[in-house]
Subunit: 294 residues, 4 copies
């Protein structure tokens, strides 16, 4: 089953209408994505605004997506609490999820070190019914899981992959070359898809894949054909777009770009603000320059 | 009722035995604290390990503490999700809590600014049945609520105080002198109790009050008698202790110090590690030098 | 002589005309400051743009200021290089400087710890002909000198004071109550003048004193008369101004404010940019609200 | 001449005996490096401890190295002061340096933005007699030069390259694909040699090249032969070593490793401390595991 981690996964945004989850809009997006060569979907990634969703909303979303796809579903069910993480993960698994993407606990930053991460991930992995993907994303958590910790955790039979959201492929090559055989590394942002794959990663969970799935897929297939030059060319064209829908304009920017690209984006949930008019104009220009819109 | 915010509140640690909540141990601690001139108790502050507790555990804890005290109970019920925050706060209120200490949302750090904080706190305060205390604690959240945001929020009828956990009293004086009359500022760490009170704060929610409630209370009463010199002297003696049970040794250190001072501390919950032997020795020396133990 | 450290010192800005040092403009400012009850002057503080000055320019500036005042002159002559620091300090001393304000070395951030700071300050203090004031300013250096390091260094006969530019008065009280008798602490920013003095500091080196010397002096004298309420009131009125001429608009803002207040400010040196028109308008409003201009 | 930037350059450490520059030890090292296929040498890089050297010491070092090599000499002569930078660079050029590696100004962090960097680099490049290489190293400077700033500066006829010391190759590909033709990017740390070259960089200025020049050169030549797998394998083996001689043990670690590898390392200059015994043992183990020593 771990083969399925190869390929491109969009971490789906969560559509809201009047600040409430709009499952019909999500189904609309899924229907469009089903026509693309995507490997599957991630629910409740950072840009899925999972921190704003209730447990009930999350489980409903898993069920709805499961009803509309046969592809792999990865769910972001990690919380600081081990108990809550196990409970939510197992409920999501019963609702149809295939893998659990478990973000590093982070509240007690000073205490989040080698031993603490081992404590956390081993206990979670021991008790959940689906395989665990470790999720390292310092820009949101302000903690970093060291390479040696990942390497040690890769020996656990139920920990099968890492989603690495730093832009540092040296970590990817170091980890890839030292983990238990079969353990996968997935890049977490489109700006290191090219170098990440060259360093040992097998696929990507990419915010960019919500708006430009074809380009993400194309980079990957060009690289499989060793056409590195062309792959890099496409990635370079996508870098300003990727920055716009992540660090620059955040989830509001990503959702606005989805609207511009024919998907349903809508507003982020409160307390987040929708994209300002000025930023929307800037975003359109960035998409235009990347030839994504006219 | 806001008068009750004057004084010293320990943010209670949560006792665990075999990694499960041990309410009897908490009752034991409360019984000892009831003999002290404390203004009340905070449940689910940062050092209460609230991120490791389930909703059910939290509500049970409120009920148990309510049964054993007539004092003010402040509950830390803030989560990134507005919906979840409102729900949990109202359940806690029904279980006996008097005020809600609402930590700033923080997951989307780049987006957490003036407008977003207004969105969040106004919506929460509009819908909860007990008054809201804003909680600013950048060392855990990595976001800071600007003074002007606090000042604007102080106009909301159901937002009545700020717990300020930076060590910067210039913020306290700026905020205190500009908020709506009646809005209170409470210091969030013992190292600025003295300067915070001199700058307009009315009390303190202090980790240190878990282990040295008398000293915290004494600083406050000396200041009310304008005996600043003696108050500062006691605080200076407490600074190394305060550092040990907060930034230096974290919640494990705080709990170990509680054990040394005759309260029940015990181990922090998984994934946190208990204090190492070497650190325990260092902690004992610090408590000794502050004349807290012999 | 250390008594002279009591009181208010403006860290003088360096006037430039056509990007070259304009000593006549500096003399003009000094002449105005001589009419105020200032304790002396600091040359080459952070806001003196010392990093943009050549050694020759620095020594010329010391000579010029010495010719126009009998007050204490403190020179900022600290560099990462011990050799260069000693050389420049002694040349400045021969040109008329009374004290050396030595900023912490900072280039190798990871290595800047207890032992390294001891190495540095002891070697410098052993070899310079004027007393040393330690200068801790993490916002520029990204390193922090721990309280215990300052306390140990206070035993050196030629290290006589600390300029503390964090906004954390708990550091000031901890240091003041533990250093060798006679060692002084000076606050480095106006926002903690009030709490700093209450915590053991004896004076201030304050960017704000370049534009509002009277208010800074008044805060200090009110506090000496135990009129804390009035002192805090003035400081609170000054906080937005202080922020504007430091963190908010930087040295360009400080210089623009000087121009508005009747001193010569002028442009910062290249590569810094002068204040934009929009920021100038904002700055004027802030000065107006603080009743510094009409 | 810019072709010469292709290849591997060690940023030479500066040997000290009794805390004074020991040019004979440097000549000894150079003699050994001359036998390797290195493209040239960098003097006064970060690990050259340039912040601890006087101007006279720097110029003497340039002259000495020039006498012992015909290879390219790159000098790190950037200072916050434009005047001082121009002066020192031109003196170094007259002493035999070929290129100037100009670190970003950084003291006024908040003000270091697009316009300020343009101001600085254009003025410096206009006035120095040798071509300028921009040096971006946030881990030391705490400022980052944005890609768009580099791209704009690449149009200046005397700005010919960038040394990029972040570990983020997405920046390298973005910059490489947008700069003026002929402008080169050089990686600044061995951990991104592999991905940096694949992203458009032409060579490396690598601390690691002081102790393992053959391995660095080999990675580069394997990549030129499109033997990516083998190149990555060697780099992966070197990553722990590279970390040990940079972020982990700093310049003291790099110098200790040089001693172990048959070069002269010696102690760093005061105030830095030599490597502790415990760290030396750890360092030896790391070198052993990488098969650099037995």
């Amino acid at each position: 089953m771990t083969n399925l981690l190869k390929g491109i996964y969009p971490p789906l945004t969560t559509p809201f209408v009047d600040d409430e989850v709009a499952t019909d809009k999500l189904i609309g997006n899924i229907t469009k994505y089903e026509a693309k060569m995507l490997a599957g979907y991630v629910l409740f990634g950072s840009n899925g605004e999972s921190v704003f969703l209730t447990k009930e909303e999350k489980l409903q979303l898993v069920r709805v997506v499961r009803e509309h796809t046969k592809r792999t579903i990865i769910v972001g069910t990690g919380l600081d609490s081990i108990k809550e993480t196990i409970f939510l993960t197992n409920e999501a698994a019963e609702s149809g999820a295939n893998y659990a993407l478990i973000i590093s606990p982070s509240f007690f930053k000073n205490e989040m070190k080698h031993r603490t991460f081992l404590n956390y991930y081993v206990r979670v992995a021991d008790s959940v019914m689906i395989p665990v993907i470790i999720y390292n994303v310092p820009k949101f958590t302000n903690v970093n899981i060291e390479a040696e910790t990942i390497i040690e955790l890769s020996n656990h039979p139920n920990i099968i992959a890492l989603k690495e959201s730093t832009e540092n492929p040296a970590r990817i090559s170091e980890i890839s070359s030292n983990v238990k055989p079969g353990f996968k590394v997935i890049v977490g942002t489109a700006s290191i898809l090219y170098t990440g794959i060259l360093s040992g990663a097998v696929g990507g969970i990419l915010a960019l894949a919500n708006i430009a799935p074809d380009q993400c897929i194309q980079i990957l297939s060009l690289m499989r054909e060793s056409n590195f030059k062309k792959a890099l060319e496409i990635q370079n064209r996508m870098i300003p777009v990727n920055r716009a829908v992540t660090s620059k304009f955040g989830v509001a920017g990503l959702k606005a770009a989805m609207d511009l690209m024919g998907y349903f984006g809508g507003n982020p949930r409160m307390p987040l603000e929708p994209l300002s008019e000025a930023h929307l104009i800037e975003l359109k220009m960035i998409l235009k320059q990347a030839s994504l819109i006219e």
